[in-house]
Amino acid sequence: MSKKIATIPFQGTPQQEQELLAVIASLKDQQGCLMPIMQKAQDIYGYLPIEVQTIIAEQLNIPLEKVFGVSTFYAQFTLSPKGKYRISVCLGTACYVKGSGRVLELLEEKLGIGVGEITPDGKFSLDDCRCVGACGLAPVFMINDDVYGRLTGKAEEIDEILAKYAD
């Protein structure tokens, strides 16, 4: 799986860096600490730009390519920032057979962006995901933590939902 790498400049604050250093210090001596640290780092920054990965590598005294190898391997780690509203469309089997492919197409059309991209105003980002576990409501998509399920694949329905995030 290839990953999109952000081209926008890094805007981390000293406060975020302090937080990250504290996390690293507290987990450093645990066996296999790299992934838990990277997960926390992504919570702090919202994504894992190369600058953040460099800090982690230096602090743990491991090569940057090792950190980069891990960040590019796992789907959860993102190298580009996400929108204020993160949309993820479930393409798990149960949703797929009930037409989530169509839902994704509609969202791409409405937002004018593809999977893994973000709208120019930074408001929406669009991703597909494997299974959010709400198979009883298939097909579903999520906007941040809100789940929208039992979709019919009609354009008006998507408009109505997106309208709730007009602010």
Binding site: M1, Q31, G32, C33, L34, M35, P36, M38, Q39, G69, V70, F73, Y74, A75, Q76, F77, L91, G92, T93, A94, C95, Y96, V97, K98, C129, R130, C131, V132, G133, A134, C135, G136, L137, A138, V140, V147, G149, K154, A155
Partner: protein, 632 residues
């Protein structure tokens, strides 16, 4: 709590708390208990708001002492969420709406008359209201691994103890030798529920004996449920997290390990949170930590969050991931029982496997072997989804037929459509066609018909699903998730995907089918790990049972199910069309125009689609009120 005596006291006290729900004969301090599902499915349909409103209404009516609200794990019937069950009678409210709560509180809880119109339809009969347990969905089920799901509050260790929780651990530590524990798991015939079906006792025995005097050993739990559309393990973790902790401690005692790790998907926030709470409570209660029950045995468990890689469900890849690396599998041997996590002897079992352990210890191996088929003992949990009425979680004895699961428990296929196939085992499994509808589900039978048990995902497909498209869907998944370490899987699956794409685009040839089969067999035989070795299964099984659909795509250039877009075209029946022009307004590609043909009895000329311009979105068809547009 330090001794068995303490445990027994808590159990005695808690027995009364849970008695209403379990039907146990013990005086309850409540008149009623209202159980609301707090699993992922129901939470997604707002069950937390239902609980809030319920508590507010009860307190406004001064009923909080008499009626208790309990947030439980999954009841199984996710399609009907949010679900609310009222005990002692077992009344079943489905798709509960917050606005309905005041009426339920007043009419049911105060006046004693359940609100029939809000109840699950099937439970309302001429002879009164049926309890939950007697509905078609539950009647044929046997809930062992799920015995506490939807019964207890998963965030309260005492409720777990009230259901015999931690008694098996106590029994093991105070009355059994590690060898005896292993022997009883061996005797029970329990096989791994993660998919492979390897005998659990055998795994434990190897890990105990293969490296004598190992300084460190590990017990791992695979909760990285990656198979899309499967949520058995998540429901157990959300509904009964302590059972996993207890079973892992038992395993630790049996093999001689002090440390356990649960590798759980980060995409399961509710499960992760409940596990954290459970570990914390177990430590405080002395069920994890030093000298458990005052014995020499010490054991602790930590959580490790996965980060979204399907291959990490493979045992060696999972261990590599816990170590903090790219989750790539390692060649075996050495097997994990010899060199596993951090190069130490390790066992890895799946959540559902662990959920069976305490009951085998308490009830004996003979009890367990009395359930199931000759070579597959006990029960299996399935996450049933797709084109089926009762989407949800189902636990049945091994040997139940697919027909019983789909038609009786699952309530059949919606909209009167025809059953085409059931897909089991996810990207590693295959499709079971209607001709094998009566096969008894167990490990060996499913392999014999070209599928596999897998972890328990069961997706029902109807006549509107294209089997070539389904095979392509799974291949796309494998291509994305292949870790890239070995060539057959990395490149082979990609080539397979390309051939399938060619076929669904209408450019396939009959030689492609031979090439596809050859590739399948090559990848199966030569991949490093289970992911690659099983990746061709969805293609092989659809080729075996639905070859005619492949041929229709190749020779007739048609997709019989009407799914593959390149092979479709939309047509307007010129005699049905009244010429309203609604379709042309909807068309995003301006592909629809008026013709000069006017059908008899119509005032306006009919419309027609320019197939060269058509993008096949189907917008026209969904708007046409006269059924004049069809997909061919």
């Amino acid at each position: 709590m330090k001794t068995l005596q303490d445990l027994a006291e808590i159990r005695e006290k808690m027995r009364k708390e849970v008695a209403l729900r379990t039907g146990e004969d013990a005086a309850s301090k409540y008149d009623k208990q209202v159980l609301v599902c707090g699993g992922t499915g129901c939470t997604s349909s707002n069950s937390m708001k239902v609980i809030e409103k319920l508590e507010a209404e009860l307190s406004a009516n001064g009923l909080t002492d008499k009626i208790q609200v309990v947030k439980t794990g999954c009841f199984g019937l996710c399609a009907l969420g949010p679900i609310m069950i009222v005990y002692p009678e077992g009344t079943f409210y489905s798709k509960v709406n917050v606005d309905e709560i005041p009426r339920i509180v007043k009419e049911h809880f105060i006046d004693g008359n359940p609100v029939k119109e809000f109840l699950y339809e099937e439970t309302v009969t001429d002879n009164g209201i049926k309890p939950l347990q007697e509905t078609a969905f539950y009647k044929k089920q046997l809930r062992l691994a799920l015995r506490n799901c939807g019964v207890i509050d998963p965030e309260n260790i005492d409720e777990y103890i009230g259901r015999q929780g931690y008694e098996a651990l106590g029994k093991v530590l105070t009355t059994m030798k590690p060898e005896d524990v292993i022997q009883s798991i061996l005797d029970s015939g329990l096989r791994g529920r993660g998919g492979g079906g390897f005998p659990t006792g055998m795994k434990w025995k190897l890990a105990r004996n293969i490296v004598p005097n190992a300084d460190m050993k590990y017990v791992c739990c695979n909760a990285d449920e990656g198979d899309p559309g499967a949520f058995m393990d998540r429901s157990i973790l959300e509904g009964d997290p302590h059972v996993v902790l207890e079973a892992m401690s038992i395993a630790g005692y049996a093999i001689g390990a002090k440390q356990g790790y649960i590798y759980v998907r980060a995409e399961y926030p509710i499960a992760v949170n409940r596990l954290r709470i459970a570990i914390d409570q177990a430590r405080k209660a002395g069920m994890l930590g030093q000298n458990i029950f005052g014995t020499d045995f010490s054991f602790d468990i930590d959580l490790r969050l996965g980060a979204g890689a399907f291959v990490c469900g493979e045992e060696t890849a999972l261990m590599t991931s816990i170590e903090g690396n790219r989750g790539e599998p390692r060649p075996r041997p050495p097997f994990p029982a010899e060199k596993g996590l951090f190069q130490k002897p390790t066992i890895l079992n799946n959540v559902e496997t662990y959920a069976n352990i305490p009951q085998i210890i308490l009830n004996g191996a003979d009890w367990f072997t009395s359930l199931g088929t000759e070579k597959s003992k006990g029960t299996k949990v399935f996450a049933v989804g797709g084109k089926i009425n009762n989407t949800g979680l189902v636990e049945v004895p091994m040997g139940t037929t697919l027909r019983e699961v789909v038609e009786e428990i699952g309530g059949g296929i919606p909209n009167g459509k025809k059953f085409k196939a059931a897909q089991t085992g996810g990207p590693s499994g295959g499709c079971i066609p209607a001709e094998h509808f009566d096969v008894k589900i167990d490990y060996d039978n499913l392999i014999a018909i070209g599928s596999m048990m897998g972890s328990g995902g069961l997706i029902v497909l109807d006549e509107d699903n294209c089997m070539v498209d389904i095979a392509k869907f799974f291949l796309q998944f494998t291509v994305d998730e292949s870790c890239g370490k070995c060539t057959p899987c990395r490149i082979g699956t990609k080539r397979m995907y390309e051939i399938l794409e060619k076929i669904t685009n209408g450019n396939g040839t009959m030689e492609d089918l031979d090439k596809l089969e050859e590739l399948c067999n090559y990848i199966k035989a030569n991949s490093l790990c289970g992911l690659g070795q099983t990746a061709p299964n969805p293609v092989l099984s659809t080729l075996r049972y639905f070859r005619d659909e492949y041929i229709a795509h190749i020779v007739d250039k048609k997709c019989p199910a009407g799914v593959c877009k390149s092979l479709l075209h939309f047509e307007i029946d010129k005699d049905k069309c009244i010429g309203c022009g609604m379709c042309a307004k909807q068309c995003p590609a301006s592909a629809i125009d008026r013709t000069d043909y006017t059908a008899e009895g119509h005032k306006l000329a009919s419309m027609a689609i320019d197939t060269a311009k058509c993008v096949k979105c189907g917008a026209c068809m969904s708007k046409c009120k006269f059924g004049a547009i069809s997909k061919k």
